[in-house]
Amino acid sequence: VAEQALLDREDPEDAARYRLVLSGTIGVCLLIFAFGSALQSAVLDIGGKNIPVWHRLFANFVALALIVPGAWMLPIRTMSWRMRVPSLALLLIVGITARIGVERALGIHADGKLLPVPADTLPAAVAGIIGIIFGVAQAGYQDRLTQQARANARHALVAASALEALRAEERRVRREVADGLHGTLQQQLVLLSTRLRHTIDSLPPAEPSSATTAADLTWVKDELDRLRERDVRDMSRMLYPSGLDLGLSQASRMMLQRIPASIQVSARIDESVIAADDHSTGGIPFDLRLLATRVLEEGVANALKHGAANRLGVLLRVDEGDVLHIVVDDDGVGTSPSATESGLRLLRERLREHGGGLNLDSGPLGGLRLSADLPLTFGPEVPIGLSVST
């Protein structure tokens, strides 16, 4: 951070802006005073000597012509306050001394003596101090604003790439665990089951206790097979739905394909989904794809579990405003929305986090209609192994 601040201090654009704001603010303040005090003195005819107004103006402008370029040239921005105060004071003294000199030369102050300092020097000095303080404050303020904007932009960038890294990491872990479940664990279970079968086969058939042991072991083996076939596979899919890498429409189709054939399914995956998920332009980001697949899964599972549906209607569509619509209709009877609702709470929250929502209503098939909206944001992320260059 310190290094970054130092780099910003050396930014030539920032330095130029600082000079401009500082000398500009001082210039405007002094200009107002230069005109104001000259006119005031002339109108009130202070000293009663009928000094022409341009004489006073000229003296003021000489001071202004020294102070403003001085403020421009001095490296005030990079100075510490211990250097800044004396430098600016010196600048002011130079300007005021020059003003007095010019005033004396033009006979505004009759005698040629340097001291005592003329009475109207005090307001001029005060005006100068105010101008300088105002200028430094203004330039510093502008400087801080710029730095702030820059820091914000930097933070946003860091946050965005951190989020991206987090997404990629989540995805990697999900995939690894899913592959582990799908591969290693499944194979271990197959080996165990095979070994159990051999053990059952090798039990001496003559012994009466063998029959009950065999029945017991067979039960264990069947449970193991069921666990492997269903639970492990389901869990693997939950972590990383198959086809997710290939796109939302693929993941959806694969999910729908697994619905038992005895259930009538009319599914429409609109062309707009495939178009939105075009990998050559990055496609739908992984976490949104995962969420959408989860919504679809939940909708189908709910219809089958609670609604005991025989018929499903599924629609996936992306509208002109890049909002993904997922609709699952069922013909389930005896479904109460409240029973289904509780299971959907988490999904609804996750959809809301992304600016979407989820609704449960009575549907056209006689059962419920689950409709979810998910606004799509397209990141630069290109899925691993899916870059399509044409």
């Binding site: 198959s242 290939l246 394909q257 054939a261 399509v388």
Partner: protein, 220 residues
């Protein structure tokens, strides 16, 4: 589409798993009338090595380390409309064939690495694919059950059987031999099946019927 009889079928094998690739290449090389002319370990290498007109059919792994077989297949096909594409995957991702752009939909096949597929079946599928047909993994086809209420469920058992064999890459003659009925009645069964499925007239009925088969079945 296919090279004339006599000259061998030119095959490209793109697979990032070295052992699998080498085994596949040597198994294919042992087959009569097959010449593996290109082997590549990745999408980029394949794009560099395969020039239009140099191969008849490409065997592509879906999950390549540096890309994806589907995208590669689409590119190869657009450069050379005569190339057949056979996808290989260790997962059941047959649905991939449904989302292919319409201009490249003919002549895509799918075999699963985890199915018990013999080299004879691969060879037969390669020939059919090079001929513009769509061939599906036989094991997956036989496991597939038509979904209730779908157009596929309207077929008679015989029509469905014929369609299943068609989906595994058999020609009408091949189906006739398998079912021990005349080729003429196979044609009849197919025409009735096409009518029952109400296939789009504009496209190749054989390909459309196979795609419909994927769309309207469950493989549990």
């Amino acid at each position: 589409v296919k090279a004339e009889a006599g000259s061998p079928l030119r095959v490209a094998v793109v697979e990032d798993h070295q052992l699998y690739r080498e085994m596949l290449v040597s198994a294919l090389a042992s087959q009569e009338g097959i010449a593996v002319t290109v082997t590549a370990a990745g999408a980029q290498e394949a794009r560099a090595l395969i020039s239009p007109g140099s191969i008849d059919v490409a065997v592509l792994d879906v999950e390549l380390a540096d890309g994806n077989g589907v995208a590669l297949g689409i590119q190869l096909r657009r450069k050379d409309p005569n190339v057949g594409v056979m996808l290989l995957s260790s997962h059941d991702v047959m649905e991939l064939l449904l989302d292919l752009p319409p201009d490249v939909r003919r002549g895509w096949s799918y075999l699963s690495k985890s199915s018990a597929v013999s080299i004879e079946i691969v060879t037969r599928a390669l020939r059919a694919t090079a001929g513009g047909r769509t061939v599906l993994d036989p094991e997956l086809v036989h496991r597939a059950v038509p979904r209730r209420g779908s157009s596929l469920a309207r077929l008679t058992p015989r029509q469905l059987e014929v369609l299943q064999l068609l989906a595994t890459g058999l020609s009408n003659t091949g189906i006739a031999e398998r079912l021990e009925i005349s080729e003429r009645s196979i044609e009849n069964h197919l025409n009735l099946a096409y009518a029952a499925l109400d296939l789009p007239k504009s496209q190749n009925s054989r390909v459309s019927a196979v795609l419909r088969f994927i769309e309207e079945t469950s493989r549990g």
